[in-house]
Amino acid sequence: MGYIPNTEADREAMLATIGVASSAELFEDIPASFRRPPIDLPAPLSEPEVLRLLRQLSRQNRDWECYPGFLGAGAYNHFIPSLVGHVISRSEFYTSYTPYQPEVSQGTLQTIYEYQSIICELTGMDVANASMYDGASALAEAVIMACNITKRDKVVMAPGVHPEYQQVVATYTPGLSIEIAGGAELVENQTGFAGVFDPAEAQRLVDDRTACLVVQEPNFFGCLEPVEELARVAHEHGALLIICVTEPISLGILRPPADYGADIVVGEGQALGNALNFGGPFLGMLACRERYVRQMPGRIVGATVDHDGRRGYVLTLQAREQHIRREKATSNICTNEALCALAATVYVASLGKRGLRKVAELCLQKAHYAAEQIGALPGFGLVHQAPFFEEFVVRCPLEPHQLNTELMRRGIIGGYPLGRNYLSLRDAMLFCVTEANSREEIDALVAALAEIGGGR
């Protein structure tokens, strides 16, 4: 079944109206030798058969509804209010498209305006766009934006920026003559890397050619950066400060980036009401100071009025965008992650000002409870001294991949082995603890680590 309503009789009537004898005539512009090629696909399935197949595939995965997990590193497991799923399952939202016709798209437009307002409140910035693909691509776009604003071509990365985000920036920029300094190599080159960007090191790298300094907060290792000093370094040289937030729940308790001098804030919004989804769809956030709004990539919704003075919402400042400006656009982005932005809006609205604060405090408390106990286990140790939010790095007595295998054997999804990205941290694991981890789960993790480590 192809979800095709027309019958053979319908088709015959339509072909007669068109004035052709068969549908084949409609494809005659295709070179004859290439028409109707064989396609190697499995035979079609009925609805119950396809659902059975998908269920079987899904059961070959160990999911977080059955197994407690302690992975973060850019994708976070939080409680999601039931309301979120119900709202984003309303097909008036999910089966519409980009709101090109505002009179019949006020639902989507107003929720985007609300989303933009929420992102501004969380970050302290003046304006936010309607969303980007994910945190990493949002960062790449922000870096390009900063180079365009400053007319400079050097980017300085803090060592604690998510390694995949750094890779994405490196992938996006080769055609644009942008030089990238700092980053992951600062982790490897420093003896006793302290988990944060040393402002003296930043001072050495940032110069008058620097368009932007990129700092992730909290950083990939979970640590809080010396953001005020880093902001000063950037601004002394006329560079913009880009703050990257991969865990927006932290903004429930941490000072908003605007307070310490961020010029552009980007990040990953998944933690706000979006499921883990094996890494996507996620939600790229991008917000900035008002003076940069016309250099922003992506869709932006604005409030206006109709001829009777009624408030309504439209896509605005479109002169930045590809469908108007073509090769002179600020970005090529078109389709973004609107439904994920809606999920984030419903999430934040459900929790409200007290609920978001409470989630953040729960994450902070539970992560510190876990870190204290894991750090005290024989053979294990916390690597960094800096304050942290919900993630922390642990030195392990055995190879982290092996440790994860042992944990999985005990029904626990472990942490992130940092050796994947850093030679100097090949014996270290990044753990994440959120409000969704119960004390029972944390205690089970600690007990399992003690048992596994004790055998060494």
Binding site: M1, G2, M14, V20, L26, D29, F34, R36, E47, L51, L57, N61, G74, A75, L83, S89, R90, F93, Y94, T95, S96, V104, Q106, Y113, E114, E121, A130, D134, I144, H162, G175, L176, L224, L254, R255, P281, R299, V301, G302, H307, V314, Q322, H323, E327, A329, N332, I333, C334, T335, N336, A338, L339, C340, A349, G352, R354, E361, L362, Q365, Y369
Partner: protein
Amino acid sequence: MPEPLLFEIGAPGREGYSLPEPDVPTRDLDEMLPPARQRQELNLPEVAQIDLVRHFTRLSQQNFSVDTSFYPLGSCTMKYNPKVNEDAARLAGFRAIHPYQPAETVQGALRLMYELQNYLASISGMAGITLQPAAGAHGELTGMLMVRAYHAARGHQRRLVLVPDSAHGTNPATAAMCGYEVATLRSNGRGGVDLDELRRLMTDEVAALMLTIPNTLGLFDENICEVASIVHSRGGLLYCDGANMNALLGQVRFADLGCDVLHFNLHKTFSTPHGGGGPGAGPVGVSQPLLPFLPVPVVGYRPEAAEGEKYFLDWDRPQSIGRVRAFYGNFGVMVRAYTYIRTLGAEGLRAVSENAVINANYLLALLKEYYDLPYQRRCMHEAVLSAKRQKAHGVRALDIAKRLIDYGLHPPTIYFPLIVEEALMIEPTETESKQTLDYFARAMIEIAEQAERNPEVVLAAPHHTPVGRLDEVAAARRPNLRWRPESKKS
């Protein structure tokens, strides 16, 4: 009555959700977080759950959507989104898995991705597929970065990319993001590539021609093989924008036409919902010579490996362009597309394109007496008409679009492609019945008559929406892009 903003409803102390109390011994906050790092103020809404439910439900009712109305938005393929796909994507084993779990704990997810790569390769004939890009334009960027890497590896970086004047705006914008200059290629009198112009522009400095097939006029270029051969003869690559693939499923393989790089839009061709503007997914297929440049990781399969290790993420690709986003792509969208392909099979996909093309030509046949047809040809999956005739009466494409809303119909794409004056780009898709198309055609014909006899009713449309035509000039001149608390309003 306009719906108030979230920030305008609710009251201090209201909550829409309940959270557990801490079950671990708690510490003083200041011990964990220096007070200087803690936030003092958070101006978020405080709304009761029932009021949230009503707020979002009422807002949803202000949207047209595929599930409520015929949505013939040209170039966007607003086909029906099967419900079983949604159920599949929401299975806990897909929804609640972390991208960094060990491969042996996500074999089902990796297998689904591996098979989807193969299905897309089979449909298009391309040699290799990446599922990483999050949308069509993201796929374009990925594809053109591979074009760039290909030329760099051959020792001569080229300067130019050719883009037809009928192309989507994303094509030139993508080329520019990859550091290329864009040269515009004129279309010929039949809406296709002007071969003489192509021969003139196609030099050793041209990295690629970006071509949409069928093109944005809804036409299949009869000279496609000649076009490909001219591009290849000067060492260039043929980039194909697959936004309109719904016309060609099972009818022709892009690889056979000489395509080197191709992006798919899973949210158009493969029935995944558009989400009010995403998430989509924009996988990219490449020909053999471009395989080494695919983004990392790709999903691999080794039948000889032990159970739990057969499907794996292949990072060992030294010439890869890198990665275009974190993790592996919009997996939830892939699950839906996979479900769709398994439901339809090869013959089902062929029926999709056949019916999509019949539906578009049927509308074309019904409407061509009443609206100008810029190119006297049959179309593929979409029909591009012009409101030139109506413009003479002061009624423009925009007015016709707004008047369709009064009939409960979503307007077609308007003013695109740019080379057609007062363009109306109508894509019915295969999932609409003859009755729906007849109703749409009757509405279009009535509007054409109204344009002549009673233009005021068209010019004042829409008449029954929550808001009338909005002042877009004011919106851009004095941008109001967020709610602000009373105290901070400027």
